[in-house]
Chain length 171, copies 2
Amino acid sequence: MTTLHQLTVPYFDKTLQNLERWIDKAHDFATAKKFDANTLLSARLAPDQIPLVGQIQIACDNAKFVCARLAGKQAPSHPDTEKTWDELRARIRAVREYVNGFKPADFEGGETRTISLPWVPGKVLSGSDYVLEFALPNYGFHLVTAYSILRHNGVDLGKIDFIGGLPFRDA
Amino acid sequence: MTTLHQLTVPYFDKTLQNLERWIDKAHDFATAKKFDANTLLSARLAPDQIPLVGQIQIACDNAKFVCARLAGKQAPSHPDTEKTWDELRARIRAVREYVNGFKPADFEGGETRTISLPWVPGKVLSGSDYVLEFALPNYGFHLVTAYSILRHNGVDLGKIDFIGGLPFRDA
């Protein structure tokens, strides 16, 4: 059996650290190609898609809101004003610190907690359905989309940069 | 608390159905633009990336192997010979039928089961670590990448096509 805390906090913590390594690689690529790394932030894979900066802002918001909603707390506000990688990195770190502040006890009863989403008025999900059917797939969606935009633009990323380290032990 | 079965089977079942709807939309786009929909299968976002057909084959294999490994069973073989959307659809349906055959009792003890991955000889993961840190993120990775390749090529997909239906109830 897996707790809501196990499903969320360590996963967000690890993948937000992975995301910071993609930023390092984006800078390596920009340095090698002699362009301003911040130009990547407006890149997208389709003209009606949210650009890279927005994909990362949304991923950050997902991680933050999942924890806040499951614990019945008010999440801190981040007004989506980032224009540079440095500012995005600061946001990623702030969100990582925020989610790491949640302890297993904060999510007790979270599975059956009633979750309202501001863009679906009059309807609710259970905490479990929210996490499994919406929040985790949606967080992954924006994370992979950010990765794909960087990859499409030539940044040297591979699967291991996406997955990160794994707790292997000797067979 | 969430069981391994709740984390995997309903999620694979739903997202493989979502994937079939993306195939319908790819055909709608090809019909409107008067091209052979199967040409999309070789599309990719970077020259050293696995093409769309491979992204879908890998997603299918992920779903299949997760269930087989957690239950300590041998997964059926799929030799990656698909060249058309019809063949891919048949594979998606076969995998969906396979994963839906697993019952909660099949995964009992799965959290502590020792999982070996053929590409990491001599090392193992616990069933829990395998699911949470590798298998689910990796499945999502290939699913979103398939979506992104279609989106980048102009197929009319939006977030709701990725997430699918949600079990909302009245507030």
